[in-house]
Each structure stands twice: as structure tokens, then as C-alpha cells.
Subunit: 482 residues, 3 copies
Amino acid sequence: MKKRSALAIGIALAFGGSSAAWAQDDAARIRELEARLAAMEAQLQAVLSVAQQANDTAAEAKAASQVAVKKEVAETARSFEFHGYARSGTTSHADMFTVRGVGPYITPAGELGGAVGRLGLETDTYVEAKLLKNFTSDDGSWATFNFMLADGVNSNNDWTGGENGVNVRHAFVEMGNLASFQGTRLENASIWAGKRFDKKNFDIHFLDTDFVFLAGTGAGVYDVEVTPDWKASFSAYGRDFLNEDNDSVKSYVFTANNFIGNWQVMVNGMRAKQNDSNGSGRAKTGAHGLLAYHGKSFYGLAPGLSKTAILAGRGLGAEVKRLGAVGNLLDDARAVRFASFGTMELAPGWAIAPAFMAEVSKDRFNRGDKYKWASASLRLSQAITRNFAMQYEGSFQRMDLDSTFAEAEGNFYKLTVAPTFKLDTLAGFFARPELRLFASYLKWDEELNGFTYDGTAREGFGNTEFTGSSKWLVGAQMEVWF
Amino acid sequence: MKKRSALAIGIALAFGGSSAAWAQDDAARIRELEARLAAMEAQLQAVLSVAQQANDTAAEAKAASQVAVKKEVAETARSFEFHGYARSGTTSHADMFTVRGVGPYITPAGELGGAVGRLGLETDTYVEAKLLKNFTSDDGSWATFNFMLADGVNSNNDWTGGENGVNVRHAFVEMGNLASFQGTRLENASIWAGKRFDKKNFDIHFLDTDFVFLAGTGAGVYDVEVTPDWKASFSAYGRDFLNEDNDSVKSYVFTANNFIGNWQVMVNGMRAKQNDSNGSGRAKTGAHGLLAYHGKSFYGLAPGLSKTAILAGRGLGAEVKRLGAVGNLLDDARAVRFASFGTMELAPGWAIAPAFMAEVSKDRFNRGDKYKWASASLRLSQAITRNFAMQYEGSFQRMDLDSTFAEAEGNFYKLTVAPTFKLDTLAGFFARPELRLFASYLKWDEELNGFTYDGTAREGFGNTEFTGSSKWLVGAQMEVWF
Amino acid sequence: MKKRSALAIGIALAFGGSSAAWAQDDAARIRELEARLAAMEAQLQAVLSVAQQANDTAAEAKAASQVAVKKEVAETARSFEFHGYARSGTTSHADMFTVRGVGPYITPAGELGGAVGRLGLETDTYVEAKLLKNFTSDDGSWATFNFMLADGVNSNNDWTGGENGVNVRHAFVEMGNLASFQGTRLENASIWAGKRFDKKNFDIHFLDTDFVFLAGTGAGVYDVEVTPDWKASFSAYGRDFLNEDNDSVKSYVFTANNFIGNWQVMVNGMRAKQNDSNGSGRAKTGAHGLLAYHGKSFYGLAPGLSKTAILAGRGLGAEVKRLGAVGNLLDDARAVRFASFGTMELAPGWAIAPAFMAEVSKDRFNRGDKYKWASASLRLSQAITRNFAMQYEGSFQRMDLDSTFAEAEGNFYKLTVAPTFKLDTLAGFFARPELRLFASYLKWDEELNGFTYDGTAREGFGNTEFTGSSKWLVGAQMEVWF
């Protein structure tokens, strides 16, 4: 491109001397320029063509990466999701006899939902594996099919066929952003039907307890916008009770669950018409209410979070946590529960999580029974390195139980030390997976041993076969959710 | 680039007046042009270099998006597939007692395969989760491992461990496009072995019934090309019967399944040598045939589809749907069944699906028994909005049953209204997921109650505990497949 | 761009004749050139802009394909893995009675772990489906959650709910490349807890037997670097025994597993304190050792591989394969086992795999019992085409068993021919999936029939209901792992 034609240069030299030569020289130079310019114009065409081709290729590549591949990724990867929860480990004590019954519901109050701090007490392998299939439409509406397979066993054996509990706990479809709902109060709502745990359930992780656990097979709608600040969800869940004649009877829970700012107001009604078919006094209806505050700080005192709730129920609602899940409650059964927990950072690397729960109930399973219990728990986490933390948990429970068959009053104490490995110890209390070793010391008032709810003769403490008044437990465990 | 050098402009002005000045002026302008041209040539080089670089980057990006990412997507996403079917919901009636036995096989003829319209009758949670692993070779041959986990429960409870039926229904490998088969009649064939539902099974969705349901553990070959229009599949499926001594005995089904244009001709032979070990008359062999027409229109009358079949069987083949799956058939058992259904669009937003099935059988379970039943069903779907449709289903069944232990003659009627939510109501009868509410009215002739196949005293209607002659059912359900 | 302005051309022609005309002509041409040049400069700007835009688009596309999509692929596809093992098929014999008990552990020595060649003997459907969730941190540390669902049934039926064994066999988390371990002997180590099969287990595929099968629920560390050539793994696994009172008792296996070059030295201690609660002589402790050589050639004779081990155990360690998994061993129980296998290519398309295993044990389940058995097996694979191979397997077992309740001495022989389809027959013994047809001839010394370990009266051979001294089996099967 840069090379001048030899002829043009020759002409330019020949006309180098006179005025005419000047002119001729000029003319030659102009011709040369014209030639160069013409060449450049052609060249420019070529460059433009290259640039345009590059642009086309780039656009193609962009389209390919954004449409074709993304579409493929979308249709395969995005349409499928794998989620889960699992804990598994082994726990032993000096006698190396069975640890059946050991867990956060170990105490006599466990039957009533009276959990104690879970760290270093869990002996089971519990797994939830969730497979999701996502559907999306061109108009932005979506649906998700959620399948959850769960298993819970206490055995440490590698093959637990026959003694296991593999079962399907989620089989539901939820749909949202429906075109037909645009411009209505349902614009941001989703609807669902099938078998599921309710989406709005929330828990005190450290006590392995939900505030409310609403689950079963039914249908509902989430997040109807009553006012911009008030979202309401409605549902009907079916359950199956075995009534006193061991017949399976239908039971239903009807729920209105309101979120107004940080406040939650939930009301539930239960109905199991055939639960009292021979006049045994079993409840056929239930009423239940929850008032909760979901704090975005540690009780307003420090950054962190806290959740507090008061629950009350009557009849089938007297099981205030597992809504409508217990069939042998009396018509007059009444219960009130208070629950609260929070998490905060004490200092860099030090985090703390107190939890408290207490319940009073009466006329629950037998006319005249009276139950009071209160649990307090404190977990402390100390990050030692990026991957290693020391966790400590102290837990206390006071019980005053009268089942009419037996009475028991006393305390339970637990102290656990758990060296813990994590991918990042500074990622917070709820970062998983965790691998833990642990040693727990359990102590309880011996008069609690042998307490029975139904008159069956028992010897051990709570659900265990432990006699005496204390026990050391050591073990190892993993926990993960994702 | 556009800016002239200040010097060149100065020179051009200075020589502005005379002829010589003209020439000198020209010369200066030419020099200026030469300079500009030289600058542009260099510039052009730069532009070309940019364009070429752009081209290279674009080509790289294109290659990256098409090769690298695609390969990764291929090796991960494509090698795995998630498919499934699920229905789950809750159903109740005024008594709120158990709904055990309610479903498309609710009537006394249900035991014989006499299904009625399923909409608004299903009470169970049934899930099939399929995980596929695809293998591909460089020569284009492929294999797929298909794993299906299924569960069916009637309970609405969230934990059904112990009462559930979680089991593996698919564990097979199918291979195709094998290099060794090229140029033979097996060129487009695939071979398989393991546990599976046969690939060629087809159903009347609205009655929840397969035309034929061939399943078990075995091996076979699909789509051998006898002539270009005639594809034949062959298989042997094993089953396990409990014989009359409650011993497990081996049973086999041998199948030749021919597709000639729209016609299907299937012949099956069954063999269970030990099924009659003590001379009770149980069939040790069976013969079965099916002739079907797979219509690509609504009976030639309108766009849509229709499928029609006639099935006949003897001995173990007298269970004409679930091939070789029933062991307590007599040697002389005979059955003939006719089945047909179709779907079409009546008008924009209105779709209709009639279904019909009838069977005559005798000497089935007891010498001298005689069974006749016919079911007709009509489903109508009316799209109200993009996401909401009304579905209606009317169903009728006529039964004339004589089990030698009991006789029953009468009718069953069902009418269902089901407000239904979908992602796209115009996507057809078979688009899923669907979320439905429903109300069904069931009516039957009271003399059908208490009918028994084996002399066991029963009171209820069909498989249920319903007495009387009618029932309202209300409920909610989701259904999905993908 | 190429077109000159009409005016410029006109001027150039008008001044064509004289010197002044020359100059004027030149001037006009120069003006024309200037105009063209200016146009080109503008044009060049446009081209540059196109090229730059192309470059930007290309870079965007490249970034998109490499970052966004890759990230998405990474976060979805890479974070999830699907793996599995499955075999499924149907097997029959002339009587078409049950094939219960048929399999590689068919002989009386099967109870002791005395497997014979598996080809053409397997009758079950066994599936392992593994779902993995991978976690990775920015600092390169990783964790994996491993979930395995397994099922084993002998029935050929499509629905095996109730008789199946669906259970969870893996629920563990393993973590590695932890920042806190860098620079220590744990730098390349990984730690784990939960329920699992040990990662270092290894097997003789052809006899369906592990050399050691360590599994259960526990915790451990893999690949601690003692010296650059010596990697040590440590673990504690819990198990649950049913003791002689049918109580569940805790049992533990403690393992140190060393790999020093090609050598493996593994020592195991077992403890089940409550296993002998009423003085029945059941072992409460066990000791076990394994010395193995992992050959990277066929016994140093030819390319291929070979693995050889000697195992010895006492007490709970006298079950030398399934470590700590058998609770009814006596305190004095002793066993020594030798096992070896190898694979090599005999000639192009011909591959051979011999396997040998022998064991001597005594005072195993009853004081005074004595067991000796030796199994030899030879599998031969002959590739016929790319997709079809003939496989042959001959197997022999010598038994000399004295359970104190019964004595048995004799031989078992098996010969199998298995036409096999694969995606690539030259990919080796371990390439899967395989679809096989098979015919096996089994022969045994009739005096082995009815042998019993515990005095229960039995008639059949080993675990089967086969009488006589020989049997033909035919069947079809698939096998896959991935």
C-alpha cells in the first residue's frame, strides 16, 4: 500500500527543474497522489469489509454465547436444581450401649416439643435431597416442581433397608408471575398445590425446632398484597390421623398468614370431624394463633438478627408447633408457648446465639394433665483459623410435668465442646458444611427417670434407656445445607 | 487526523498571489496532501490491525462459545437429564372420614381395569422421579442409563416413612446407533436390558389407564426395520408371581410389537411354569394380542389425535392391560377389550376429549365368573384467561359383574368441575403443570355396594368405605410431567 | 467514496490546455484530492468506529462466553454431579421356579464371603444413585456432599414397594485443600464425617467382592503425608449390632491405612463393649490387618494391572472383608484370607482376568467350627466387532466346612458364555455399560446340599432352593457404572 509506482516516481524526477517542470512535477505528484488515493480507497473498502466481517462474527459469537449456549444452559442447568439438608454422625458413651432416644428431644419434655440445644446431642443420619424442575414461559410466568426425598435412621450401619424411613416429603408445584394476575393484588403472588413444608415456616436452628411447622398435602396462595406493606398467604393442608379406633381420618388445617412489616400474624383453624367417633373426648376442631417479630438486628442492641414469637392454641391447635399434626389432643387442650432467639458477633471471630423457649399446657392428652417447661440455650463460636473454630453450647431445661399417670419436676443441663472444621469460619453461624468432633456432658435430676405419658412402665430418662443422672457423650458429625 | 499542520497552512497562504506562487502554492498543497496521505496510510494500517484483532477476538469468542462451553455443557448438562411425573393433592367429603379407595379405579369394576374419568377423583400422592445418564461415543453410538424412583401414598401427612412405597421402577440401559449395526436392519434399532416400563406403552390419560402396560425386568430390541414401513420390536420381560402356596415363581412375557404405518399389531405369550403347582387351575401360559390404530387426527373428522385398540387374551393373557402381571388368572380365563380416545379443538379456547373403554371377560378368577363393563368419559376444557381454564368431566360406567361369590349390575356416574391454573391454557390438554381445585359429584346404584370378588364380606362401594349411593368430593391437586 | 464530484471533474477538463491552465488544472485536481482525502478521513473514522465496535462486541462476546456462561455452568453444572452403579436383569432355569439365593455368593461358603465368578449368576436389581454437591471457596478449599440412594431387590416386578430395600448409603461431607492446612503434613489431606463407604476400599470386580469393605457412619482424615512416599489415613466408623438379646449395641472400627509406594498396610481395631452382655462368648473386640500390593502391571509379566492382598483377623476382625460388620463372631474367632486378581490383554481384542481367593477360619460362629474354601475364576473377553464381544467365565470353588452342626466337603463349578454388547468392546474389562445375554452351567457335589451354619434344617444348595447337583441358567442383564 505504501509503495509508490515506479513510473510515478520517474515522472516526478524528470520534471524537477523549471517552472513548467514545477507544474509538470506538481502534475506528476498529483497523479501519484491520485493513484495512492485510489489505492487507499480500495484498501479502505477492504478494511471496512474486514471490520464488518469482524463485527458480524462478533455479533454471531455474542448471540451464540447469549442465546444458544445460554438457552442450552437455561434449559438444562437452570431448569434443574439440587438442594438438600443432611446431618450424619456417630455418638457413643462409656457403656457403648444404644444411644436410641438421644437428641434435642431427649428429655421427658421432648414429647411436648421441649427441645434442648442440639450441638453434640444428635445421633441420627437425617437427609433431605431436593430435586427441582423449573418451568418458564415467554411471558415471564414460572412454575417449579419440587421433589424431596428424605430419610431418617438412627443406625450407623451402611445398609439400613427395612429399618429406614425413606419417603417423599415434597411433591408440589408452585406458580407465579402469572399474566392473568397482572394489575391485581395477586401480581406478586404465587399459587401452589401438592405435598410440602410451608414456605413461611421458620425455626430456631440451635434447638432443632421450628417456631411453626406447617406441612402436609394441600393448596394455597402466597403473598397476596392487601396493602403495599401487608402480604397475606392462605392455605388448606390435609393430614391423616389415626383415631382412637385406629381408623385413618381426614384432618385439615386452614391458615391465614399475614406479614405486616416485621410483624407476622398467623391464624389457623383445624378440623378433623371423625377424630372423636366414639366419644373419647378427642378434639375435632382446633384454633391456633401466632404473633411474631422478625428482627433485622440482635434485639435492637447490635447488628445481627432475632426472632420472637408467642403462640397459643386450643383443641387440635394445642400442639402449637406442628400445626394440626397431632390427633390425640383433647377437645379442651390448651397451650401457650413463647420462643425467641438471636445471633450476633461479640468480637471479631466470636459469635453468640442465645435461644429461649417455654410452654405451658394442660388437658392435653388426658383430662387434668399439666405441663410446664422452659429451655434456654447459648451457643458460642470462636474462629481459631480460617477453617477451624471452637463451638461451645450450654443448655438448660426446667420441667414440671404431670401426665396424671406420673409427675416429674426437675432440671436438665448440657454442656458441649465441639472443635469444628468449615470452609470459612468467619462466614457466620449458618455457613455450612461443618465437620465436628464433640464431647457433651449431660446431667439431669434422677427423679425425672421413668416419667411416662400413658402409664407404660419405663425406666430410662426421657426417650433414652439411660438410668442414673448424668452421661458423657463423644462423637463426630457433619452437617450441611445448600 | 483531520488537522493540517500549521506550517503547511502558513506556506499555502504565503504563496497565494502569482502564477509562480500558484505553482508554489500547489506544491505546498501537494506536500500537505502527501503528508496527509502518508498519515492516513499509517492510520489505515492501524485500523486494519484493529479490525483484524476484532476479527480474531470474535472468532475466538465464537470458537469458545461453540466448542469449549458447549463441550462443558455437553459433558455435564447433556449427560444428565431429570424427568418426572407427579400428582399430589387432598380430597375430602362431608363426613371427612377416609377417602381410601377413591380414584379412577373406585368402582367394583376397578379390580378388572374398569377405570372411570380421573379428574377430581384422585386422592393419592404419586411421584416418579427419573434421573438419566447419557453416554455418547465418537462414532455416534449412544447409551442411556435410566433410573426411576417412584412413590405412591394415600396419606396426606408430611412424613410417610413406613407406610410408603418408595421403590425403583426403572434401572435399565438402552443403546443405539451402534457402529456394528450400520447397513443392517438394526441400523435404527436400539437394544436394552434391565428393569423398565416398555417404551411403546401408550395410554388413555383421562381414564388413567394404559392401553397396554408392559413392564418388568428383561431385555429386548426396538425398531428392527422389517420393511421401510414396518418396524418390529421384540422383548422378554420377567415377573415374579406369588403362587397359591405363596411361593414366588418366575413368569415371563414374550412380545413381538409391530408398527406398520399408523397400525400396531402386538402379540404376547406368557409362561409361568410353577403357577399351578398343586392343580388349582391357575394359568401357566397366556396368549394376548392387540390391534391398534394411532390416528394423527380426531377420527379423521378434525385436527387432533385419536387412538383406538382392540385387545384379547386367554389364560395369563386375560389381564389384557397389565401384560403378564396378574398370577391368579385361570387357565381358561378369556377377555376382550375395546378402547378408544381422541382430543380436538371445538373452538378457540374450547377443547374436548372423549374416551371409551369396554371389556367382556369370563372364567377369570373363579370358574364360571362373568364380567362386563363399559366406561365412557368426556373431558371439556374452556380457557378463560391465559392462565386460567375451567375443566369439566362427565363419566359413566355400566357394570354387570358375577364373581360366583356375588353378582352386581348397575351404573356409576361422575361429574366434575375443576377450575385450573396453567402457565398457558391454550397449550393443549397435555400441557403441564396444572393446579386444580375441584368438586365432583359421584352417584351409583346402591346394589353395587358390597360386591366381592373372593367372598370376603364387604360393605362399601367398590374399593371404598362409602355406603349409600352418592357422594360429593371437593379438593385441590397438582399434576406435572416433564 | 470513489465517485469524484462532477464539479471537480468539470474544472479539471476546462483548464486542460496551457501552462496557466496546467496550474489551474493542478489546483483543481489538488482541490479534488483534498476533497477526496477529507472524505476518506471521515470514512476512515467511520471504519475505525466499526472496527472498534466490532472489537468491543467481540470482547464482550468473549467475556460473556468465558465469564458469564462459564460461571453459570460452573455454579450449576459443576456444583452437581450424578454418579451411579446399577445391574439389573432376569434369570431363569428349566423349572422356572424361584432363583432366590442365586448369585456370586450362591455356595455354602458364600456366608463366609466365599464368592465365585459373578458373570451369568446375578439375579437381582441393584442400583446406587449418587448425587453430589460441590462447594468451592475463593481460596481453593473445597467440600463435597455425597448422597447415595441404593436399592436391592430380587423380584422382577415393576413395583417392589414394601419388599424393596431403598435406603441411604452415603450422607457425608469431605473437605480438602484447607487454607489452615497449608504448609503442614495435612496440606494434601482431606477430612470427612458422616455415613459412607470408605474411599480406599478396593475390589475384585469379577468375584463381586471387595478386598476390604469398610463402611458405616463416622469421621476421618485421608492422605496425611508422613513422608513424601507414605500417605496415611485414619478413621473411626460406628456400626450397630444386634446382640444376642436382640438389643442394638454400638460397635466401632478404628483404622490406620497406610500407602507406601505400591504397598498398602492397613490395621484395624474393633470395639463393641455390649456385644457379650450375657456371657455367650461373642467378641467384644477385634483386630485386623491387611498387607496389599497394588501392581501397575499384570504381576510384572505384561501390561495391565494386578492387586494382591493377605488379610488376617481375630475376634470381631475375623470377618476380614466387611470390617466390623458382623456381630456374631466369637471372641476366639480367627481368619486368614489371601486374594489376588489381574487383568491383561492376551492379543488384540482378547483380554483375560484371573482371580483367586482363599480363606481359612475357625471358632468363627460356634466354638470348634472350621472353614476352608478357595475360589478361582477366569474371565475371558473376545471382541468380535466394535460393539459386540463374547465373554466367557469359568469358576471353581473348593469347600471344606464344619459348622459343628453340619460338615460339607466338595466342589462347585460354573461355566458361563455371555454374548455382550458395549459401546466400545476394545475399551477394556471395566468399560460400561454392558448388555449381556448369558447361559451358565452350574455343577456341585450333591453332598454340599443342606449344609447349615446354625442347625436349621435346609434342603437346598447354599442359599438356593436347588436340589440335585447341577443347573442351567439363562438370562439377560445390564450393568453400568459412571
